[in-house]
């Protein structure tokens, strides 16, 4: 693979996309085509309205089949969108998919520039891609044996669902849960909105299934302590979680005792990981709607717990011995926060997203109160009612019919919760004042015994896991998928998938769908017993390697490089060798090799140098 060995292709095919006007409205695609065709090494340049369409791909396939081209450059949108598309088209033509280079003339050109400048820049980018393409070589994906084994982290609804589905599919599954319990947040619910199913039934059904399944190993009170390996062959070190606040500390822990010895560690050899680590319920700040300061202000999860032990006095609800004549439920607590209006948390963050599930949960609770305790009034204070799902709008209607009274507030003017003063609002312990959009923006006031805060979902406390597994996290702090539509449960770490509310707020049904979608990806990945990896790994040119060992020093992966004794024409010598499945393809070794013996397949230094050469060169122009 050395420069000396390398033959430059002179049959590069260039295919330029109009993108239905997205590109061609700003870039003179025909001029690019004409100019590019004169670049040395370019055999043919063509254009199409949509290169990604079948007829577009057909152009490439035809040219390859006829032997007109042996390297392909497509100039179109961002490579993240269609690189895979064109590689597979090339494969269909019977060629090696890695003879392909992508020029991004939409996001980097036509969407940021106009006129001649756009055309000129597009030409340069295409030229650079041609420069690289001439040096591309056919590569073969790395074939890695994969364990037909999946580890699911988190035994809430999503984790148990994924575990059950994968075990049914014939894979071995380990289900790891930090707490001693299976069931996650669902276990803390009473009934599920809008279906009214008992959460306990759902949790029990799933728990039974995973506990009894021969192919599922359930490990509760267990956490991840180490993460190593690569797709198809991950090694997870797990460790039991001890009761008490200071599991790793030696010495006396007040009120707990002394931790005896180091907890044993276990290594799980697995093929893929599904993260079902769930969410954390938002804790209101002290004083937020009186929370923590005023008795009778509780969060929705706290209310659900109280309500499960509800008593009755006449027609009225009695909680904890207190007769509740009137309840106010406030939506969007800790969700839909707006910079400049809401206070940031300790880390300077705001939850700008909608927590999706609270509207239905509140309405469901409101309906239950009204339907069971006709004497208890319910006020619902909302910003927007978001009953989007099947059966949810009906729940909203049911709440109205059952006599729940709605008030609409804006983020700028949230309801004010104060202690009752026995005045106009009567002998209620709490008094609510809100500028009510439904009452023509006037202030209305009501006396209540209880305020329920519909607290939203926050990303779980999994910083350690995120750091250990190098997981991508979004601005909302939830785990981030690669693309919401193209790869909705995949992470940027191959073989690591997302399930349920670790990714975003979801209902139980949605979390189960997410878990099943993650399971199907894991099943597809591991089903064949092997995985094919991108061949973009380091490669040593034995003709140039002097065995300095600098590359080993620089290597960032454990065991991706080794020194071996080889026989050369000049006798025995030490040379570096790459263990492909371990190589991460970062190229740290490339920079340090004094002889340029090691390079990255598919992304070689020489290719970059060729690209720079094309960028600084003049493009022949007949205009």
């Amino acid at each position: 693979m050395s420069g000396s060995r390398q033959r430059k292709s002179d049959r590069v095919g260039v295919y330029i996309c109009h993108c239905g006007g997205n590109i061609s409205d700003h870039v003179d695609v025909e001029k690019v085509r004409a100019d590019v065709e004169r670049i040395p090494g370019v055999a043919v340049a063509r254009t199409n309205m949509f290169m990604c369409s079948d007829p577009g791909q057909e152009l490439i396939i035809e040219d390859l089949r006829q032997g007109i081209v042996d390297r392909v450059v497509v100039a179109s949108c961002a490579p993240s969108l269609h690189e895979a598309t064109f590689r597979s088209a090339i494969a269909r033509a019977g060629a090696n998919p890695y003879i392909y280079e992508h020029a991004n003339i939409r996001e980097h050109v036509s969407w940021v520039l106009h006129g001649d400048k756009a055309t000129a820049k597009a030409e340069k980018l295409v030229a650079a891609a041609v420069g690289k393409a001439r040096l591309l070589e056919p590569l073969d994906p790395i074939h890695v044996e994969a364990r037909r084994h999946v580890t699911v982290i988190g035994a809430g609804i999503a984790g148990m669902t994924a575990a059950r589905l994968l075990a049914d599919r014939g894979l071995e599954v380990v289900l790891i849960e930090k707490s001693p319990y299976l069931g996650g947040h669902a276990a803390r619910l009473d009934r599920v909105a809008p279906t009214g199913e008992r959460a306990a039934d759902l949790v029990s059904e799933l728990a039974e299934a995973v506990l009894e399944h021969a192919a599922v190993t359930v490990m509760t009170s267990t956490r991840l302590a180490g993460f190593d390996g690569y797709v198809g062959n991950y090694d997870l070190r797990v460790r039991p979680v001890l009761a008490g606040p200071a599991e790793d500390r030696n010495g006396y822990v007040p009120f707990h005792g002394v931790v005896g010895g180091n907890p044993p560690e276990l290594t799980i050899k697995t093929g893929a990981v599904i993260l079902a680590t769930g969410f954390r319920s938002y804790r209101p700040r002290r004083g937020e709607y009186g929370y923590g300061d005023l008795a009778g202000v509780v969060t929705l999860p706290e209310f659900i717990r109280l309500f499960s032990a509800a008593e009755r006095s006449g027609d009225c609800l009695v909680l904890d011995g207190r007769t509740i004549r009137s309840v106010a439920m406030i939506h969007c607590v800790g969700s839909r926060q707006i910079p400049g209006i809401h206070e940031e948390d300790g880390d300077g963050r705001l939850n700008e997203y909608c927590s999706r599930t609270c509207c239905s949960a509140v309405l469901h609770a409101a309906c239950r109160i009204r339907e069971l305790f006709a004497g208890t009034r319910v006020h619902d204070l909302y910003r927007d009612i978001r009953t989007y799902g099947r059966g949810q709008e009906e729940l909203y209607e049911r709440a109205s019919k059952s006599g729940v009274l709605f008030h609409r507030f804006t983020a700028e003017a949230p309801p004010l919760v104060e202690p009752g003063d026995g005045g106009e609002t009567g002998d209620f312990p709490l008094r609510l004042t809100v500028r009510d959009g439904l009452t023509f923006g006037e202030e209305v006031r009501m006396g209540v015994d209880l305020v329920v805060l519909a607290t939203g979902m926050e990303a779980g406390d999994i910083d350690e896991l995120v750091a250990m597994m190098k997981l991508p996290v979004g601005t909302d702090r939830f785990l981030q998928e690669v693309h919401p539509k193209l790869a909705p449960v995949e992470t940027s770490v191959a073989g690591v998938f997302l399930a349920g509310t670790a990714q975003a707020p979801m209902t139980i049904g949605e979390a189960c769908n997410g878990a099943a979608a993650a399971a199907v990806k894991a099943a597809s990945l591991l089903g064949r017993g092997y995985v094919e990896l991108d061949p973009f790994v380091a490669d040593v040119d034995p003709a140039l390697c002097r065995g300095t060992g600098d590359c080993l020093q620089a290597c960032l992966a454990d065991g991706a490089l080794e020194m071996v004794e080889v026989e050369t024409e000049e006798g025995a010598a030490r040379q570096a060798r790459v263990i492909a499945a371990r190589c991460l393809g970062c190229g740290a070794c490339v920079a340090v090799c004094p002889t340029g013996a090691i390079d990255l397949k598919g992304w070689s230094l020489k290719q970059y140098e060729a690209m720079v050469d094309m960028i600084v060169a003049d493009i022949p122009d007949n205009a």
Binding site: R386, R390, F440, N513
Partner: protein
């Protein structure tokens, strides 16, 4: 395709929209053989007809075409378009589908998609793929990125002049083509039959579809699409660049009086998306969204909504009660300004209706899966397995079981594929 033949596969997927394609791909990637039957001329469903998609503003066609192409080229997937499902029955472990392939009047095997027939045809007809805003021909490739790229003739508008047949280089035009029957037997089926929009034609408050410059959201998608009818945003009535555009939310949903009491779920987001795209295309235009509740509930949706507000898009709370066509193509929007100002009438150059979402297909008389009061396919385990129908071995994905945005649809399609593959695995063990 010969008449009456039987195709055997592991899984039948009914519907080749994004839900069906994703379910088929997730099944096929596990090694199962899949047959997709699609009622339209092309796979891709509603999604391929959209401009860009929220909240990423990716071009819809850029996301859909790779999935269409990979399904079309997948070794384990066979696709039949322009088909009608006559019956879908299940007994023991076999699902049997009787299918009618409707005539295209063009031989699928012979057509090379060159469009010569289309150029030759003298009959102009409103193009449904462009919201009716431009003409197409009585014989044509349905749209530029359709799969398959095969022409189809519309017999309602054909005068049998023979020009297309003469122009066709491969002799593919066949005016005498007849419907053909075939049977698909499978072990399991996924229903991914998608949704349809209600029509403004039976909404007297909105002019029964007769007011100029009142269009539906799907028509607006075409106007905004990169290869739309005008390649820019113009009023369909007279080609004027609109200065003021209104979106009417819940124009057919959350409304018992219109027969759709449920929320259509994705209209808020597409209206915001279209508003953003419009404000990009027409920076000086006033854009107003009339709404009851903004339902930006998905990942990144609320932020998308706030961005739209920050861009200057106006959000007016109030359900539009009435539209009125005025002189010169202006449309008057009647609503109640909620802060107590009472009735307001605002004039706009163009009004976009967010119509209700209803099922595209009814299983009645075709398949024994039951539907809910909302006429979408009923799911029997809405929490633990939202893809299960009451017919064993038959699963449902996407908008067939209720309105769903693309993100939720894709996740659910994966879930349906997982459920179907586990069902297949179980059936195999038994068999």
């Amino acid at each position: 395709m010969t008449s009456g033949r039987t195709i055997t596969c592991d899984a039948l997927v009914v519907g080749g929209g994004i839900a069906g394609l994703q379910a088929a791909l997730d099944l096929a990637d596990q090694g199962f053989s899949v047959v997709i039957i699609e009622s339209d001329l092309s796979i891709g469903g509603k999604m391929i007809r959209l401009s860009k998609v929220f909240p990423t503003l990716d071009c819809s066609s850029c996301i859909t075409t790779p999935k269409m192409a990979s399904a079309a080229h997948h070794d384990n997937i066979t696709i039949f378009t322009w088909c009608e499902l006559q019956s879908l029955e299940r007994d023991n472990t076999t699902v049997t589908a009787r299918v009618t392939a409707r005539p295209r009047y063009v031989d699928e095997e012979k057509c090379i998609g060159c469009r010569k027939c289309e150029y030759a045809c003298p009959v102009l007809v409103p193009d449904p793929e462009q919201g009716g805003f431009s003409g197409t021909k009585a014989i044509r490739i349905p749209f530029s990125n359709a799969i398959p790229q095969v022409a189809a003739l519309d017999p309602e508008h054909c005068m049998l002049c023979g020009r297309c047949a003469r122009a066709c280089p491969t002799g593919a035009v066949d005016y005498l083509q007849q419907p053909r029957q075939f049977t698909v037997t499978a072990r399991t089926a996924v229903l991914a039959t998608g949704f349809e929009m209600t029509s403004p034609g039976d909404r007297p408050q909105y002019g029964n579809g007769t007011i100029a410059n009142v269009i539906t959201a799907l028509q607006m998608e075409r106007i905004l699409a990169p290869h739309g009818p005008y390649n820019r945003v113009l009023r369909p009535m007279d080609g004027m660049e609109p200065d003021s555009i209104a979106f009417v939310q819940c124009a057919g949903s959350r409304d018992l009086s219109m027969g759709v009491p449920y929320c259509s779920r994705f209209c808020c987001m597409y209206a915001i998306k279209q508003a953003m795209l419009l404000s990009g295309a027409l920076p000086l235009a006033d854009i107003v969204i009339y709404y009851m509740d903004i339902r930006a509930f998905g990942k990144g949706y609320e932020q998308f909504y706030q961005t739209a507000k920050a861009m200057g898009i106006q959000f007016v709370k109030g359900k539009v009660a009435r539209l009125q066509g005025l002189e010169g193509g202006t449309v008057a929007v009647h609503y109640e300004a909620q802060e107590g100002e009472g009735v307001s009438v605002d004039n706009h150059d163009l009004v976009v209706l967010s119509m209700g979402v209803v099922p595209h297909w009814s299983p009645e008389g075709i398949c024994r899966v039951s539907t809910g009061a909302d006429r979408f396919i009923r799911t029997v385990r809405p929490s633990l397995s939202p893809v299960r129908t009451d017919l064993e071995g038959v699963f449902v994905a996407g908008a067939a079981s209720g309105p769903k945005d693309i993100v939720d649809t894709i996740a659910e399609a994966g879930a349906a594929a997982m459920a179907a593959s586990n069902y297949l695995a179980a059936v195999r063990q038994q068999g």
